[in-house]
Amino acid sequence: MSKREIICRCEEVTKEEIIQALQAGDTSLEAIKKRTRAGMGYCQGKSCKRLVAKLLSAYLGMPVAHFLPGSIRYPVGPVTLKVIADLDLAGGKENEN
């Protein structure tokens, strides 16, 4: 039985890897994400963001609020390119629904 503690399940990033990132000087969700891929998976950090923020807060001695909400970008949730192409966002003809 391994003692691995997984923080980001989508990208299988362990607590140990997050701690290593903190020790290497990362001070934000964004920095940790770029180093470890935590929060970069299918769910876009829905469960791990708060866990990583808590580790940041404990390590740096700053409130959790300082690190949240992290970067949020379109699209909210996974979207196929077809869905975006359907929209004709620049204007022009309306979709028929």
């Binding site: 399940r9 708060r50 629904n97």
Partner: protein
């Protein structure tokens, strides 16, 4: 075709309340929900509600949901299900998809009622099959009539943890213990008394140290916490369980609000990051309103009333009705909300809400 006075995103109690009020006062209203059935968490709530008659005291959650759906239908709310919103853009453009089809709508006002997501904990073994959240357990048991396990350990003694434990017992499962990190029970005494009477023990100042299992959960190691919430060495003990159910709070789903440019604030009492809003549920963006758990995690009755308030507020913004008339109706709801936020638990939320409303926030550009 796709233009609406009010677009409500999320069809839980807040979203339904908002859509019903907006439509009742004559707004052309669209309600979008990502699920195949609207009602949000209401349909998982098989217990009777507390409170006054206006708050459906004595009615079960799913009946409240059914009544709201009927009301929405009779008021010609356009309801689009299985429709997931992935963006809100300047000009009130809402982008969504249903199946493989991309959709675009335009709203003069947009009410975000996206609810909250469940918090999780991490510990060695926390990703083992058998470790689930309380909401998942409730969905499986109360909606799909499937018992996810036989022997449960529940983490968290808030109302969700207490109610889920009781419902698991009712469904025939064994609940070995409710584990609470704090030295006191977090939920209502009436719920706690009920689960205790049902023979469930509540372990205060305890936490999960580890989940153990070859392929699925087999054992849970618990330990005691000291007054600083640090584990006390040597106090570990093991329970044989096949399901570990996490009921450790919720946090507002702020993604859409954040992308809309709504000013976000942090409120530990109300679940964490959330969009700032005023007493009429308006955000820092003139077109965008919020309601329900997104505007601070509370419970279904407050969500429903906040939704109604947001619906009326949108109508007022649009100038569809006499300002004063709508204002009077809004005041009634505000008074009801104040009544709901009483008692040792409600009071904290009332104070947190007041704090948010009275906050000075930077004026931002309009979407």
């Amino acid at each position: 075709m796709n233009k609406f006075d009010v677009i409500v995103i999320g069809g839980g109690p807040a979203g339904l309340g908002a859509a019903v009020e907006a439509a009742r006062l004559g707004a052309r209203t669209l309600l979008l929900d990502e699920n195949s059935r609207p009602g949000g968490q209401l349909f998982k709530q098989i217990h009777k509600f507390f409170g006054s008659k206006e708050h459906y005291a004595g009615t079960r959650g799913f009946d409240i949901g059914e009544n709201l759906l009927k009301e929405a239908a009779s008021l010609n709310v356009v309801l689009k299900l299985d429709t997931r919103v992935w963006g809100v853009f300047p000009g009130g453009i809402v982008t969504a998809y249903c199946g493989e089809k991309g959709l675009k709508f335009e709203g003069k006002t947009i009410i975000l009622a996206t609810g909250a997501s469940e918090n999780v904990l991490s510990f060695p073994g926390s990703t083992l099959p058998g470790v689930i959240t309380a909401g998942a357990a409730q969905t499986m048991v109360n909606l799909h009539r499937v018992l996810p396990g036989k022997k449960f350990v529940v983490v968290g003694s808030g109302n969700v943890g207490l109610i889920v434990s009781y419902q698991l017992k009712q469904a025939g499962a064994e609940v070995l213990a409710i584990v609470e990190a704090l030295p006191q029970i977090s939920g209502y005494a009436v719920h706690a008394a009920k689960v205790k009477r049902a023979g469930v023990r509540i372990l205060l100042s305890h936490t999960v140290k580890e989940a153990i299992g070859e392929k699925i959960l087999e054992q849970v190691i618990l330990c005691k916490l000291d007054s600083n919430m640090k584990p006390i060495a040597g106090t570990e003990f093991t329970l044989d369980a096949d399901t570990l159910c996490l009921a450790v709070g919720l946090n507002p789903r702020v993604e859409l609000a954040a992308l809309c440019g709504c000013h976000l604030i942090y409120s530990p009492v109300l679940g964490g990051m959330m969009p700032w809003h005023d007493e009429n549920m308006c955000t820092s963006q003139s077109r965008i309103l919020v309601a329900g758990d997104l505007a601070g995690v509370e419970e279904a009755s407050t969500a429903l009333d906040e939704g109604r308030l947001a619906g009326l507020s949108a109508v007022q913004k649009l100038g569809l009705r006499n300002f004063k008339e709508v204002d009077d109706e809004m005041q009634k709801i505000k008074d009801r909300l104040t009544k709901l936020r009483q008692g040792p638990f409600g009071e904290k939320r009332q104070l947190a809400k007041q704090g948010i409303i009275s906050m000075k926030i930077p004026k931002e550009s309009c979407l």
